[in-house]
Amino acid sequence: MKVYNINKYIGLMAGVLLAVTINAQDYKLPAYEKFKLKNGLTVYLMEQHEVPVINVSVILPAGAIYDGEKAGLASLAASGLKYGTTNYPKAKLDEELDFIGATVNTFASKESAGLSSKFAAKDKDKVLDIIKELLTAPVFDTAEFTKEKKRVLTSLEQAKESPRSVIGSYFDKFLYGDHVYGNIVQGKISTVTGITVDDLKKFYKENYIPNGSAISIVGDFTIKEMKTLVTNLFSAWPQGKQSQANLASKPVPAPTGNRVLLINKDDAKETTFYIGGPGISRNNPDYISIEVVNTLFGGRFTSMLNDELRVNTGLTYGASSRFTPLKNAGSFAITTFTAVKNTEAAIDKALEVLNRLHDKGIDEASLASAKNYVKGQFPPRYETSGQLAGLLTQMFWYNFDESFINNFQKNVDGLTLDKTKEIIAKYFPKDKLQFVMVGKSAEIKKIAEKYGPVTEVQIKEEVKKAF
């Protein structure tokens, strides 16, 4: 496969192309209704009739930031919802959902927990009832928990087989330190080992509450009918009070200099690395402008990073950069991988490209290209009911509204070359860089030391509380 999702170039664009602007993407968010139940649950309803299917997305304030000392607790609690309820013991639950081809997934992310579901419109009474049961009356069956815990412990070991599946957690830990944004969603072997079914119950009671949560339902139904159905189903869910302090709003410690975290993997034939630093929070007013600039830097196939590290030099299959925004902070990272022998060349190249962004900025032709690209690729992001349901709960969680969608094109078009200079200087780290490398220490430690003081750990060891 060629590569997904990579980014930019600063070359001469043929004159004829400069005249092109993409104006066809006058994409507006379809109408929806938003209301709040008495218990505080926010509800979004949107009709979409293209296929006889309904999608549900739920977001709850029950993410890994509330794990405390028990890393992995939020994640186990979320999957624990599916151990069943009194009316739907696990075997019955799985069978009934499978029989009608419905999916109901529950999961935790760093800040929130979620449920997503998709089912045929004709099955809405049944599946919505199941969703209500899972959210409001899970029993956290001990036998199911014991089995799940065993699987999770094994999967934590298995994850270490793949640098790509663990490097993100190391990077967050390295960057955020002991701030709760450094919490590892999947947990760690030592902490998961100690978690009990009572921990799940307690976590559920404290954090799975309607106030502060939202449900969006998008698909083939009428709003009037669905409004009655949802109100009847979810109104009895008792309001709660989150007792834990909002630790996520504490300031994230700023990096004070270059640092390297080297994770030794003895059998590595590649070096997988992130180079990054602090990013932005989701409500940053420059969010869209940053997306446009990052598209040029590392967000698409012809991006500066991919052009240099893949196309020009063949050092890697793909190089990219990304901002990962959360509510109160966020991260920025350049990510790529290369053969062990090319480690230094690839890191130097990535840094060279980052310096070029700061020193030379971007030009009019590439800015025009990036604008066309992000506008052209925008509508397919919100094509399906599932995507729209997800968008609505994101709007709730990060507190933005449809103007984000409806003014997207205008806001992209409004970005000037001068503004991109500000964006680059303000949001793209230039120094005090955080390097995280997974690779064969015996061969790359000397190289790592070039970039800053090195902390070395073993991939088979537990991730430390902070580095």
Binding site: M1, I22, G101, Y373, E383
Partner: protein, 437 residues
């Protein structure tokens, strides 16, 4: 690089209303033999173009293994009008993005763009099919890219190494023997002349089917195709793949070493190609075995016996007889032999007692939901229409699939399980840390 398609299915009349119908697909064939399938869909102001070339690793021979996939990469590296880098730059400048993938059977190019850029896309595709330039400098840097692609696949998933080993053991003569990515030594050895020959042989308009879905007009597409593609001359048909894999007459086993937490298991059985009458029964059998938590294998191995942390099966599309695969990762402390035995127990149950009507109905219901997923997007539409046209010989078969699935009975499932899941027809692969045991 290798992606498996799940084809689309319609199962009941309900699904047909307001959904796509065969008549919604309009077609034309250019004088040079390139066939176009077009679906007008105005749900978003975007469109796509999927180009399916009938070439994959089964068209290679030892010495040039991996060349089909490498060629997929070279198709982005410059042609006559749009030189090196210009394909991607022009496409992205016009709001489009692209990707491509290669399998044993086909090479597929996918363009996604605002509908207003349709003509630009035709210009780009026409240019590279008509007059690709294979710049030796680009060949060298791109060689590094695919070597990295190979390496990062092996680095990040034990399945790659195990899957390659099993495939090479199950196929001893047919070109499905080698991996799509190629042998490392062949990858370092492809010659300019190999590439030129490959382009001439396989990248002919008559060896390609194009599907376009989105906010476009059929008449407009036809005009653009006539302008940009029709002047490109047809080529003689590529040589047929003449090797037929001899029947397997005894179980084959392969063990490979990698530092993993618990053993990985891959068991495959030779099964027929997509055009076979058993295709539909085998596909439903795969779902009965592993689709959902109530499926036979998940329920027995992961849930009840806790022998595996995950288990799945697949039976994908192919031109020549290929494989039905079982995949499982052992739980902590579980011996690979015990996991293997438990898989056979589940297979034997189906061979002996068959499946019940409810679980058959369950997987038929799931197929309907899969169909909805696939026609929900313009990309799903192009992908599925193209897959049916290429692998089943006619896109209309996609609309006939519901009837085909409905016809499958519990007896059919039992019959195909007995026909293909025999000990002498299987290859067993195990990947683990300690291979000295």
């Amino acid at each position: 690089m290798k992606k498996l398609f799940l084809p689309a299915f319609l199962l009941c009349v309900v699904a047909l209303q307001a959904q796509m119908k065969a008549d919604d697909v309009k077609t034309f064939t250019l004088k040079n033999g390139m066939k176009f399938l077009v679906v007008e869909d105005n749900s978003i102001p975007n469109a796509n173009m999927y180009l399916f070339y009938h070439v994959g690793s089964r068209n290679e021979h030892q010495g040039i293994t991996g060349l089909s996939h490498f060629f997929e990469h070279m198709m982005f590296n410059g042609a006559k009008k749009y030189g090196p880098k210009q394909f991607d730059r022009t496409m992205e400048f016009n709001g489009g993005s692209n990707n491509a993938y290669t399998t044993e059977n086909v090479t597929v190019y996918t363009d996604w763009f605002p509908a207003s850029a349709t003509e630009v896309i035709f210009g780009l595709e026409g240019d590279r099919i008509a007059s690709l330039s294979i710049d030796p400098k680009m060949v060298e840097s791109e060689r590094g890219v695919v070597l990295s692609e190979r390496s990062t696949g092996l680095e990040n998933s034990p399945w790659n190494l195990l899957g390659q080993s099993v495939q090479a053991t199950a196929f001893q003569e047919h070109p499905y023997h080698w991996p799509v990515i190629g042998y490392e030594d062949d990858m370092k050895n492809w010659k300019q002349s190999d590439l030129e020959q490959y382009f001439k042989t396989y990248y002919a308009p008559n060896n390609c089917v194009v599907v376009i879905s989105g906010s476009v007009k059929f008449d407009e597409i036809k005009k653009l195709a006539e302008k940009y593609i029709e002047p490109i001359p047809a080529q003689p048909d590529p040589p047929k793949v003449h090797i037929v894999e001899p029947p397997q007459t005894g179980e084959r086993r392969i063990v490979v070493q990698k530092d993993v937490a618990t053993p990985y298991l891959n068991i495959v059985y030779h099964t027929p190609e997509s055009k076979s009458e058993d295709y539909y029964a085998l596909t439903l059998l795969s779902d009965i075995l592993s689709s959902g938590k109530s499926s036979r294998l998940y329920s027995a191995l992961v849930d009840k016996k806790q022998l595996a942390t995950s288990v799945f099966t697949d039976y994908g599309e192919s031109f020549d007889p290929y494989l039905f695969g079982f995949y499982a990762i052992a739980g902590k402390g579980v011996k690979d032999v015990d996991l293997e035995k438990a898989i056979y127990e589940e297979i034997e149950k189906i061979k002996k007692d068959g499946v019940n009507d409810k679980e058959l109905q369950k997987v038929k219901n799931q197929k309907l939901m899969q169909f909805y997923n696939q026609v929900e997007t313009i990309n799903g539409k192009s992908n599925n229409i193209g897959t049916y046209e290429v692998f089943f010989g006619d896109y209309r078969k996609m609309f006939d699939a519901p009837a085909q699935y409905n016809k499958v009975t519990a007896d059919d499932i039992k019959r195909v399980a007995n026909k293909y899941f025999s000990k002498s027809n299987r290859t067993v692969g195990i990947l683990k840390s300690n291979t000295e045991d």
